[in-house]
């Protein structure tokens, strides 16, 4: 053992620690004066070696404990143990507090005695840092001694300096023992080393190896130092974890030093640098360098103390402190309050530091100032690389000292964090040091350490070369920036204010204030939240989670999502990992109703009436299971998302689905009139319609069906790329789309379309559909509409529809070839009459039945046979005077099941159905007093005035323009309403004003402008529901 130590020592010293060692020597000597037993130290030394060799103890703690000596000794040992640990940590940080207990050390007592004293020197230096923790074990005398040490240290000179030559001499030569590499089981390196150590202890000098080294970074091998291979073999004989068969390899002399040298970067620590502790109670804590002693490799740090005052008090009083089993307990960092300390009868001395002249409070050897602990550490126990102090930490540091370090983030920290290529050409910078301080400019060129900047000021050279440490990035309020490092990396925002090197920015997406270092941001025009997607999930997606809940992704973090769950009672945000998300919920398939029963779809603006977010308003982003996710840009939490029940919201400003896509006027007109204008048009509806019987009232329409049906989409891929069309049917992933430009229906894949519906093209399908469902009762009133108003059925908005419907009819109704305008088809396909003989002209039911299926069934329609109707704009009106039951049912039937009928023209089912529906049908179409044309076959048309509408639908009509002639009874299909002209008195036959009279004061296309007699309101109504009244003379 002893021999090995020497070698080891050499190795260890080589890299750069000569200074270190010397200083330790000095400390050592003092220690001797103190008269501390050598034993203790030796012991620790020994362990030190072990640790350096590899921390074998860690795994062997238990074993070690078995060796543990008596309780009395322990305490002292502890301290020594801790010594070594600190040091060893420099080499290898694995051993932590657990080992500081020192229990593992005991067994070494015996062997340790042989250790040469010189070795101790290297281990002493960490004594001081640990004092505060170990105080309780110290007797007062010892305490005094340590204090003496501390203050005396500066006077001590180095006795022996290790010269370069001496160092050189320490390098291994051929005469020195060699290093052998031995293969062992993976993960058992340390165990093996400890076993060997045990063997060495047991066997003593018999075992001729010198040392064993297991390196953390080297798996599968350990190094054994020995003179001969045979010695190694002897030593490893019988070891479980060493493969006997494995070859023992010799490490070449030149490489021997490399095995044990620690790669250390040149550490550049300067005052005011932020560092982090690597070990000890303060491990991980941020500290500020207040003093650097490069010679001794020591730094004085300013820390927020973690001191357990009561324990300290007890310790100082020499009381026994109950040993806490749980050594991992760390007192929380807290500023030292001297008054508090005094209350606990802790002696607080106020002393002046001989070197700096500052006053410090001294408690038990620890120095405090302004509540901070000032303590000196070895440079090895702090990490200086990549220190990224958070703002919290920095704020804390600033807190108690009002005079402040001024700038929260000291420059040196910023510099320390800088990566290579920190400055880029074009960056705006400001000089922060030197004569040119506060000079602003732009980076022109970057060299190794110098940056050439183009100054802002006139009268200066075009470019100045300035060291990059004297520069800092510069931003002005209003700049749009992106964070490129730190906690908020990736976020973008606008600079609100600049405080030194700290920049406050307002995040673009969250509108939150972020504080970042100027160094961590770059100017950018990009707008992001940082990461916006992980896997297939993106920010603001609606997702299904593991536990069957669902929510909207409101934030994407580095590895997880923040999801606002679909719980309307209170906003609930969950942090969800990728694997916890089951799938993305498709936003298309959902629709719901608001409190008033209005249909809601995505993008509709709603107002929230109940719940925590009452009063908020915004567009619906997602709908799922009756839960809405509303986006309110004024809502700052949860990225503006609010979760609410659909039932506690109301639609504001109408649904987009209805209005936007429709062209509003269209919609309103329809609803007002209650006309089922499109009914005949919708043969293709069938797949969606409910059972026909449902028609009145119950038919809600749309629920449960794919919203896509009826949507106008654009095909973005495939052979029909670029074409617009209307979705007719959805079959799984395939859509049947009726092309706008060509008369055909094609099948496209769902992902081949863009479904952000072209808003500019009115969304007719939808509207028609909606209307039918929303006004289920009305349609019944206007069963014949399609027939009467050839212009009408194309969609009631002749302007729009003129172009379209014909195509559609054709497309859908193969039997009605080319019948764009309605009137056409009436005489246009006489041949078809024969095809449905059962619908004979004159039989109202059948006729009405046909009405719904105009495109298709015209063939069978009786009125086709009646040439008289052909030209008349509204041929059927006169014939439906009494709103005959048979007629109405069919009409009622129409809106609900528009598509059903056309498909089954001849089936008896229809006939049966219509009467049923007719039962709850509404009033007749025709009204008394209106002027009609009576056209009976074989006769010329006669003007007449309807006197009475009979229950069977026929009318009693008084012939003559003023109704003065004979009265005859005519069937509804034989009469037609006389279209009013401008200035005519009219009667309104449909809509909410049905029955009212008025004057037609103007005609606008198919709309009539009507001034009502009673209210003098001016209404715009469809001409078709206006009937001329006999002249006033009556």
């Amino acid at each position: 053992m002893p021999r090995r130590r020497e070698e080891e020592y050499d190795d260890e010293m080589e890299p750069e620690e000569d200074e270190d060692v010397e200083e330790e020597y000095e400390d050592e000597e003092e220690e001797y004066d103190g008269g501390k037993a050598g034993k203790k130290r030796r012991r620790s030394d020994f362990i030190d070696d072990l640790a350096e060799e590899d921390d074998e103890e860690e795994e062997e703690d238990d074993d070690d404990e078995d060796y543990g000596g008596g309780g009395g000794k322990r305490k002292a040992k502890k301290r020594s143990g801790s010594h070594f640990f600190e040091l060893e940590a420099q080499v290898d940080t694995d051993e932590e507090e657990e080992e500081e207990e020192g229990e593992d050390v005991d067994f070494i007592v015996d062997t340790g005695a042989e250790l040469p004293d010189e070795d101790d020197e290297g281990r002493r230096m960490h004594r001081r840092p640990l004092l505060h923790r170990e105080e309780d074990q110290e007797d007062f005398e010892a305490l005094e001694r340590t204090i003496h040490e501390r203050y005396g240290r500066r006077e001590v000179e180095y006795d022996d300096e290790a010269t370069e030559v001496e160092q050189q001499a320490l390098l291994p030569s051929v005469r020195d023992p060699k290093l052998w590499m031995v293969k062992c089981a993976i993960g058992r390196e340390r165990e093996v080393a400890v076993c060997l150590m045990q063997k060495a202890i047991d066997k003593g000098p018999e075992l001729q190896i010198r040392s064993v080294v297991a390196l953390d970074h080297l798996k599968n091998y350990i190094y054994i130092e020995a003179d001969k291979e045979a010695h190694v073999k002897e030593a490893i004989k019988g070891m479980r974890n060493i493969f006997a068969s494995a070859k023992i390899m010799l490490v070449p002399i030149k490489e021997m030093t490399d095995v044990l040298s620690v790669e250390s970067k040149a550490v550049d620590i300067s005052r005011d640098t932020w560092v982090r502790m690597k070990t000890g109670t303060y491990k991980g804590d941020l500290a500020k360098v207040v003093d650097v002693d490069n010679v001794r490799q020591k730094v004085t740090l300013k820390l927020i103390p973690r001191i357990d005052l009561p324990a300290l008090a007890a310790k100082l009083e020499g009381r026994e402190v109950p040993k806490k089993k749980n050594k991992t307990f760390n007192p929380p960092p807290r500023f030292m309050n001297m008054d508090e300390a005094r209350e606990l009868h802790i002696r607080v001395e106020r002393r002046r530091d001989p070197m700096t002249g500052d006053y410090f409070e001294n408690i038990g050897g620890m120095m405090f100032k302004d509540g901070f602990l000032y303590k000196s550490f070895s440079m090895k126990s702090i990490s200086t690389q990549n220190i990224q102090p958070t703002f919290d930490e920095l704020e804390k540091f600033r807190q108690p000292s009002e005079n402040g370090d001024g700038d929260v983030a000291s420059l040196s920290t910023l510099f320390a964090n800088r990566k290579k290529g920190h400055f880029m050409k074009g960056d705006r910078v400001i000089v922060v040091k030197g004569d040119l301080k506060n000079l602003k400019g732009w980076v022109e060129k970057v060299e190794e350490d110098t940056v050439h900047i183009k100054p802002n000021e006139k009268g200066l050279p075009a470019t100045l070369a300035i060291g990059d440490r004297e520069l800092c990035k510069y931003f002005e309020p209003g700049n749009h920036v992106k964070v490129v490092a730190g906690a908020t990396e990736g976020a973008t925002g606008m600079v609100v204010s600049v405080e030194g090197h700290v920049v406050n920015i307002v995040s673009d997406t969250t509108k939150e204030l972020l504080r970042v270092f100027a160094d961590n941001i770059v100017e950018s025009s990009e707008v992001t939240t940082g990461v916006t997607r992980i896997g297939e999930y993106e920010l603001h997606d609606l997702v299904q989670l593991d536990d069957m809940s669902f929510g909207v992704i409101i934030r994407v973090e580095s590895e997880a999502f923040q999801v606002l769950k679909g719980v309307p009672e209170k906003p609930e945000v969950a942090l969800v990992r990728l694997r916890e998300i089951k799938f993305k919920l498709d936003r298309k398939n959902n629709g719901t109703q608001d409190r008033n029963g209005n249909r809601l779809s995505v993008k509709d603006v709603v107002k929230i009436l109940e719940g925590p977010c009452k009063g908020k308003q915004g567009p619906v982003e997602h709908i799922y299971k009756g839960i809405l996710f509303v986006y309110d840009r004024h809502h700052l939490e949860h990225a503006g998302f609010i979760c609410a029940k659909a039932q506690s919201c109301v639609l504001v400003g109408g649904s987009r689905a209805n209005v936007d896509r429709n062209g509003g006027s269209l919609h309103s007109k329809f609803t007002k009139f209650g006309a089922p204008p499109r009914a005949p048009l919708s043969p293709m509806r069938s797949p969606r319609g409910g059972p026909p019987v449902n028609s009145a009232g119950r038919f809600r329409g749309g629920r449960g069906h794919d919203n896509l049906v009826g949507a106008i989409i654009k095909i973005r891929m495939g052979p029909h790329k670029g074409c617009n069309g209307i979705v007719k049917e959805v079959k799984g992933n395939a859509l049947r789309v009726e092309l706008e430009a060509q008369m055909r229906i094609v099948t496209v894949n769902r992902d081949q379309i863009t479904d952000n519906v072209n808003v500019s093209t009115p969304f007719r399908e939808k509207s028609r559909f909606g209307m039918g469902s929303e006004t289920p009762v009305h349609p019944s009133r206007t069963p014949l509409r399609p027939y009467m108003t050839p212009m009408r059925d194309p969609g009631a908005t002749p302007v729009h529809d003129g172009m379209r419907t014909p195509m559609r009819d054709r497309a859908w109704n193969p039997y009605t070839p080319m019948s764009p305008p309605r009137d056409d088809w009436e005489d246009g396909n006489p041949a078809s009459w024969g095809s449905s003989p059962q619908y004979q002209p004159g039989s109202p039911p059948s006729r009405t039945y046909e009405a719904p299926t105009p495109g298709y069934g015209d063939a069978g329609t009786p009125r086709d046979s009646n040439p008289a109707y052909a030209n008349a704009p509204s041929p059927y009106l006169p014939s439906t005077p009494g709103g005959q039951p048979p007629m109405t049912p069919s009409s009622a039937y129409l809106p609900g099941t528009p598509g059903g009928q056309p498909m089954t023209p001849g089936s008896g089912g229809l006939d049966m159905m219509s009467p049923v529906v007719g039962g709850d049908n509404e009033g007749p179409w025709l009204l008394p007093d209106i002027l009609v044309n009576v056209r009976r076959p074989g006769e010329d048309g006669d003007i007449g005035v309807v006197r009475e509408v009979l229950p069977d639908g026929s009318c009693r009509v008084a012939l003559g323009s003023s109704g003065s002639g004979e009265t005859i009874t005519v069937l509804p299909n034989e009469i037609e309403v006389v279209a009013p002209r401008k200035s005519d008195k009219i009667k309104i036959m449909g809509g909410t004003h049905r029955g009212a009279t008025g004057k037609l004061i103007g005609i606008d296309g198919t709309d009539g402008i009507v001034k009502l007699d009673i209210t003098f309101d001016v209404k715009i109504l469809d001409l078709d529901i206006l009937a001329k009244l006999p002249h006033v003379k009556e």
Partner: protein, 177 residues
């Protein structure tokens, strides 16, 4: 700042609009499409005031749509950095307040509110001077200076300041009502 400028746009018109009033349709569609939109270069299109010219239409194969190049006169509103605006406060919170000047949303951070104004939480969150004489709350009208703008496809977002001479509250909802 408002501008009255000529812009050009290619309008796609559905064939069904062809007819006598094609031009009217075109104009109404243009209004519908353009008014209220926002572009980074020109800002918000507030209103179309006239049509300068309608070019020759080009019929698209396949769809039958016709593309017309339309030049139109319109009023646009574009906030600029350094511009002084009057805006209505819409929301106040501890980070600052949001105000709106027409379609433009402006955020005034508490860093850009004079230091003597402090945030008061409560029923009506507001910023008040220590003597209580000036209060910024919802619906207050403030005069502010824009120090930064961010233009999205659909909105312009600005950062403003009232930490300057002659900026601040110009009318208080409390006092007027």
């Amino acid at each position: 700042m408002f501008f009255h400028i000529v812009l050009e746009r290619n309008m796609q018109l559905h064939p069904r609009h062809f007819g006598r009033d094609l031009r009217d349709k075109l104009v109404s569609k243009l209004m519908k499409d353009v008014e209220g939109t926002c572009s980074g270069r020109h800002g918000f299109v507030v209103a179309i005031t006239g049509i300068e010219s309608v070019g020759k239409g080009l019929i698209r194969d396949g769809t039958g749509f016709v593309t017309f190049p339309v030049k139109y006169l319109c009023v646009v509103f574009r906030p600029f950095k350094g511009e002084i605006l009057e805006a209505v406060v819409t929301m106040v919170n501890k980070m600052g307040f949001f105000a709106e000047a027409g379609p433009v949303q402006i955020f005034v951070s508490n860093h850009l509110i004079p230091d003597d104004m402090e945030f008061q939480s409560g029923d009506v969150p507001n910023y008040t001077t220590s003597d209580g004489s000036v209060k910024i709350q919802k619906d207050s009208e403030v005069r502010l200076k824009i120090i930064g703008t961010r233009v999205d496809a659909t909105e312009i977002f600005c950062i403003g300041t009232i930490k300057d001479d002659f900026l601040g509250v110009i009318s208080d909802p409390g006092s007027t009502s």
